[in-house]
C-alpha cells in the first residue's frame, strides 16, 4: 500500500473522520463526495446541525441566564433520576426500600403522636422524621417530573397525584396533617409495581441470554453438520463411481452409510496385467473414526494391489501397514479378489469378511468359503491363504457387508441371508446394477421405519455370456 501525497484528495478524504469539527475548512470536490459515501455526508450533516444548535444556544444564553442554569442542571438530575427510579437503575431497589421504610415510619408516627404525655425529645424526633420523609418524597417527586417524557401527563396521572398527596399536606398545613399522612399508604402501590418491573426485566434478560446461547449452539451444530457433509462427499468421492469398462464382464457397487460417515468401502482396481481387483470391506464401528480408518485402509490396499499378483500377499502387507497406523485399535474385514476377464479365473483371499456368493445361471448358489484370515489391523504377521475358482459365463459374484443381512425391521428381525439369496435367485434383469438396485429396495422395504444400524454395501460382478 502506498502512502498518498499530502494535499491530495486521498489525504482530504481521511480528514473528516479524524476531526469532524474541522471539516468545513476543507473542500470536497463534487465527484469525490459520491465516492465517499453516506457516512461522510452524515458526518457533515451532523456537524452543521451542531453548529446551528450551538449558535442558537449562544443566542439564548445571552437572553436568559436562568434557563442556561436550568439546562446545566438538567443532565445531572436526569442521571440521578435514572439511577434511582428506572426499574433497571443501579440504586432503584435500594431507593424503593428507603421509600417503603419511610412510608411505614411516617404512618407509624401517627399512632406514636397520639400517645399522651409524649416526652419533648420524642416529639422533636417525630418532627425531624416528618421533615426527612417530606424531603425524600419531594426529591423523588421532582426527579419523577424530570424523568417523565410527558411531564404534564405525569403530574395528573394516578402516580403523580399519589406522590403529590404524600407531600402536599405538609407544605399546606405543616405538622398538623397527621391523618392525611395515611394517604401515604397509597405509595405502596408504586413500590409493588416497581418490584414487578424488576422481576419482569430479570426474566426478560434471562430469556434473552438463553436465546443467545441457543442460537450459538445452533450455529455450532450447523457448522459441524456442514463439515460432516463435506467429509461425506469426500468419502463418497474416493469410492469408484463406475466399474472399469472391460470386455466380457460387468460390475456395479453401492454403499449406503448408516451415519453421515461410513466405515464400509468397496473398490474396483485395474491391475497392470489386465485383471480387475474387487474389494469389499467393513471397518469396526461407525462415524468419523471408522471413516478415517476406511480411507487409510482403502488407499493402502489400492497402492499395494498393483505390486502383488496374489490377493493373500496383498492383504498380508496391507495388514502390516495398518497395524502401524492404528491408534484406536480399529480393524477392517476385507474380501479381496482378482478376476481375469479372459479366462474367468477368480483368485481371492478373505480377511475376516462374510464369504461372498456366486450365483450360477442354473439358479444354484455357491458360497466362496475356504479358510479365511483374520480381520486386518488386529495384529501383524497374519497369513491370508489364496483360493482360486472360475466364473463361467452368466455367473454372478455378490460381495456384501453384514449391514445387509443384519438390517433389522421394527420387530427386531434381521434381514438375513435367506432373503438376500431369494433376491439373488429371483428372475429378472441379470445386470449387476439391476441386482444391486433390487437388493437395496428389498432391504429398505424390509427395514421399514427401523433406523439403519450399520452401513450397507454391495458389489456385484457378472461374467457375461459370450
Amino acid at each position: 500500500m502506498t502512502l498518498p501525497a499530502a494535499g491530495t484528495s486521498q489525504s482530504r478524504r481521511t480528514l473528516p473522520f479524524a476531526n469532524t469539527d474541522r471539516l468545513p475548512e476543507y473542500t470536497i470536490a463534487q465527484g469525490e463526495r459520491v465516492r465517499l459515501g453516506a457516512s461522510v455526508q452524515q458526518t457533515r450533516g451532523s456537524v452543521q446541525d451542531r453548529a446551528q444548535h450551538e449558535g442558537k444556544s449562544r443566542r439564548s444564553m445571552s437572553m436568559a441566564p436562568a434557563r442556561r442554569a436550568a439546562q446545566a442542571l438538567t443532565a445531572p438530575v436526569r442521571g440521578l433520576a435514572e439511577l434511582l427510579l428506572l426499574p433497571r437503575g443501579r440504586y432503584a431497589r435500594a431507593f424503593e426500600n428507603l421509600i417503603l421504610a419511610l412510608i411505614v415510619l411516617s404512618v407509624a408516627s401517627i399512632g406514636v403522636e397520639t400517645i399522651p404525655g409524649l416526652p419533648g425529645w420524642a416529639a422533636r424526633a417525630l418532627r425531624i422524621e416528618e421533615i426527612v420523609v417530606v424531603g425524600v418524597f419531594s426529591l423523588e417527586y421532582l426527579l419523577r417530573i424530570v424523568a417523565a417524557a410527558e411531564k404534564r401527563a405525569f403530574i395528573v396521572s394516578f402516580n403523580g397525584l399519589v406522590d403529590l398527596l404524600a407531600i402536599a399536606p405538609f407544605f399546606l398545613a405543616g405538622f398538623d396533617t397527621r391523618w392525611l399522612r395515611l394517604l401515604r399508604w397509597l405509595r405502596l402501590l408504586r413500590v409493588l409495581k416497581l418490584q414487578t418491573h424488576i422481576l419482569e426485566a430479570t426474566v426478560a434478560e434471562r430469556t434473552r441470554e438463553l436465546a443467545d446461547k441457543n442460537a450459538a449452539l445452533e450455529r455450532a451444530q450447523a457448522q459441524i453438520k456442514a463439515e460432516l457433509e463435506v467429509a461425506r462427499a469426500l468419502q463418497m468421492a474416493i469410492l469408484p463411481a463406475a466399474f472399469p469398462a472391460t470386455a466380457g464382464c460387468d460390475g456395479a457397487a453401492r454403499m449406503i452409510p448408516a451415519t453421515t460417515m461410513g466405515g464400509d468401502f468397496y473398490d474396483f482396481i485395474e491391475l497392470p496385467d489386465g485383471r480387475i481387483g474387487l474389494v469389499i470391506a467393513d471397518v469396526s464401528g461407525k462415524g468419523v473414526p471408522a471413516a478415517f480408518f476406511m480411507a487409510v485402509a482403502r488407499t493402502n490396499l489400492r497402492d499395494l494391489a498393483a505390486h502383488h499378483a496374489d490377493p493373500g500377499a496383498c492383504l498380508a502387507e496391507t495388514n502390516e501397514v495398518l497395524c502401524t497406523q492404528n491408534p484406536l485399535d480399529l480393524f477392517v474385514t476385507v474380501f479381496y479378489c482378482v478376476f481375469d476377464p479372459g479366462s474367468g479365473v477368480l483368485t481371492y483371499a478373505n480377511g475376516g469378511h462374510n464369504p461372498p456368493y456366486v450365483h450360477h445361471p442354473d439358479g444354484s448358489v455357491e458360497t466362496l468359503d475356504g479358510a479365511g484370515g483374520l480381520a486386518l489391523g488386529v495384529m501383524p504377521g497374519v497369513v491370508f491363504p489364496d483360493h482360486t475358482t472360475r466364473l463361467l459365463p452368466g455367473d454372478r459374484l455378490l460381495l456384501y457387508t453384514d449391514g445387509v443381512t443384519e438390517a433389522f425391521n421394527p420387530s427386531d428381525e434381521a434381514y438375513g441371508t435367506q432373503r438376500l439369496l431369494a433376491e439373488v435367485q429371483a428372475p429378472g434383469d441379470g445386470a449387476a446394477a439391476a441386482l444391486i438396485e433390487r437388493i437395496c429396495r428389498s432391504v429398505t422395504s424390509f427395514a421399514g421405519t427401523a433406523p439403519q444400524s450399520d452401513d450397507i454395501t454391495l458389489t456385484v460382478l457378472t461374467r457375461k455370456a459370450p
Partner: protein, 118 residues
C-alpha cells in the same frame, strides 16, 4: 444391553445380555475394563459367558479384542464361553475365534481357568 456379574472363587464371570452393537459397545467396554482392573489383584480369570448374548456387531468384536489384549498385558486369563450360533459365526468369520480363547460352555471354561492367582 444388560450386564450381570458373578464371582466363583478367583474367577469373575461377566454375563452380557441382548445385543452388543455400536450403541452398547462403549458401556460394555467400561464394564470389562473395571472387571479387568479388579481382576489384576483379586481374581485369576475373567470369563465372558455369552449364553444370553444375541448379537455382536464389529464394534462389539472390537471390545472383546481390546479386553483380550488388556488381559494378556495384565497376565489375567481371559476367555469366552457358550456362544450362540449367530455370535459364534461372527467370531469365526472375522477370525477372532482363533486369537481369543472360546469355550463351548461355562463348565469347560471354569475347568480350564487357573486355580491359583496368576
Amino acid at each position: 444391553m444388560n450386564v450381570r456379574f458373578e464371582r466363583l472363587a478367583l474367577t469373575t464371570l461377566v454375563i452380557p445380555e441382548g445385543r452388543l452393537d455400536f450403541g452398547a459397545a462403549a458401556a460394555f467396554q467400561r464394564h470389562i475394563e473395571e472387571v479387568l482392573a479388579g481382576a489384576a489383584t483379586a481374581s485369576a480369570a475373567v470369563i465372558i459367558d455369552c449364553s444370553a448374548l444375541d448379537y455382536v456387531s464389529s464394534a462389539g468384536l472390537r471390545v472383546f479384542l481390546l479386553a483380550a489384549r488388556a488381559a494378556q498385558r495384565a497376565g489375567t486369563s481371559f476367555a469366552l464361553c457358550a456362544l450362540k450360533p449367530a455370535v459364534r459365526e461372527v467370531f469365526e468369520l472375522s477370525g477372532f475365534s482363533r486369537i481369543i480363547c472360546v469355550h463351548t460352555d461355562r463348565a469347560t471354561a471354569l475347568a480350564s481357568a487357573p486355580r491359583e492367582p496368576a
